[in-house]
Symmetry: C2
Subunit: 316 residues, 2 copies
């Protein structure tokens, strides 16, 4: 039996998940801990190191083979996390930090690329060579497989689909540009859509109920299912714009499928049906009707560490 | 000395170029012949076969190692040319046809992919692993290298950048869709731009002079160089839209450079300066200023056969 395990780490702005994963995707154990982004990064590394030694002591038949890390703004080529959002770390050479502690193969990529690797090695994309994983949350991230390989671009920054400009002089995006896909098709995009509708319909009860600090997606889902026209409008606008972005990516890359992962993707077919219709409308004949929109089958909270571990296993 | 040559064929709607090319890109001879797209495809194959036997007889020290073919709508995976524009061939298994004649490795791709292979193996992209070649003519084609490999997508149809939708409900494109990049940034796009300007300025002398069956690009270039404001406006609109499309592709793929090939690219910096400015304006910080726009250095009329031959040499 193969006794090797990889430490897979999924670093997020609030919480970090780590776990120990075998070559065939078995998770021995995993845990979510607070990232504590206001402390020095060594604080997080210390805590994971302590827990890893404990795990290896309790499971003496296992060997630590490598460390795979997924993080926002993680760059595969440099091993650096560049000024991650919500974390006060500045630029961190996270690969070097973990390598110093464990002296084994250590590799980093961004969270969306990790999700794509997770789908390829352990998820719905096992039999696909050309697919794009889209992570939907506050923002929109993407990881691209083409010809059986993850695309990094010349500097590791490929796959920034959330910042693909889909509308000239469109909505203001958090990145400083205008009209980025993320400013329409993400949790923050849905907030902007709701704000636009409130301007048109300032007294609408439903709009004023859902417009809070944190938009409650489940409440919009329920209203949609009950035939609420405003809820339908919100998801129609979101899906139409998402479909426009999918069409742009598909025209360039001709993938077999788009795979959706992340909290906001729970709205599922309520948004994806609009997106599929819009995507096909924007595609040329050869592509239209030919590309599936699929939801990830990986369990929330585990896809990140499975993907991070795949960074190591896939390089074997 | 390596005595192998590849027959490189660049099939176009009006003319076809073929030539015999060594592994290091030496062209022994090449010739342009009429495609005669209203005759059966076997007519073209017959003529190339006859000339190839003649060449090999005259150069008995050389061996035919393979046949590489670039053609509009050529599909690398199926070996088929699918209903090519301006040719009455329907769907043609061109790889099979040539294989029957010469019994050696035979491979097909579309003309833009062939141009990209030509740049990688014999042109300005020799030292690049991530770049996108854009062929500018009546339409706009593209071939994408990422991580050192040409991208085909799951069905061979990747790289249809000309039909990437850049404007929702934009201009009518020849493909039947609206707002495709090609309907702005190509010879036919420039014609549409001129038509739009004529609607605004029906009596403008310069516009009425250049608006003919075939728009004379060199005349617009000359007027641009003389400070003509209308010529400037035409290239500004074209470059702005082109830059928007480049930004979309660059956000997904993070290439080192875009390389421009084809007749219309002779306008060169007159258009590309606008395109660069527009691209950078549409890109997020990490990408902006980081991507070069370069013109192909391969000689017109030879790039196609060099690229087609690279299909064979690159698979060795």
């Amino acid at each position: 039996m193969d006794s090797s395990v990889v430490l897979g780490i999924d670093i997020g702005g609030t919480n970090t998940v780590y776990g120990f994963i075998s070559r065939d995707g078995h998770i021995y154990t995993h845990e979510e801990i607070p990232t504590r982004g206001q402390e020095p990064v060594s604080d997080l590394v210390d805590r994971i190191e302590t827990r890893t030694h404990q795990f290896l002591k309790n499971n003496s038949e296992l060997d630590l083979f490598g460390v795979g890390i997924g993080a926002p703004n993680g760059n595969h080529f440099t091993g650096m996390i560049a000024d991650p959002p919500n974390l006060s770390w500045g630029n961190v050479d996270i690969v070097k930090l973990f390598k110093e502690r464990f002296d084994c193969e250590t590799s980093l990529t961004n969270d969306a690329n990790a999700a794509a690797l997770g789908e390829k090695y352990f998820g719905v994309a096992k039999d696909m060579n050309d697919f794009i994983v889209i992570t939907l949350g506050t923002g929109l991230g993407s990881g691209i497989f083409s010809g059986g390989r993850l695309l990094y671009g010349h500097d590791g920054f490929a796959g920034e689909m959330g910042h693909m400009p889909i509308e000239d002089e469109g909505r203001n995006c958090n990145c400083g540009n205008k009209g980025c896909l993320e400013s329409y098709a993400s949790a923050s995009g849905i907030r902007k859509t709701i704000e636009g509708l409130i301007e048109e319909l300032p007294d609408n009860e439903f709009l004023n109920t859902i417009y809070r600090d944190k938009i409650d997606g489940l409440m919009i889902d329920a209203a949609f299912d009950n035939g609420n026209e405003i809820a339908k409008k919100i998801y129609e606008i979101t899906g139409n714009r998402l479909g426009q972005g999918l069409a742009q990516a598909a025209t360039l890359l001709s993938p077999e499928a788009f795979i959706f992962y992340g909290g906001f993707s729970n709205a599922g077919d309520r948004i994806l049906n609009f997106a599929k219709e819009s995507m096909d409308r924007h595609l040329i004949n050869g592509h239209a009707g030919n590309i599936d929109l699929i939801r990830s089958g990986l369990p929330q909270g585990q896809a990140g560490i499975l993907g991070a571990a795949s960074l190591i296993w896939s390089s074997q």
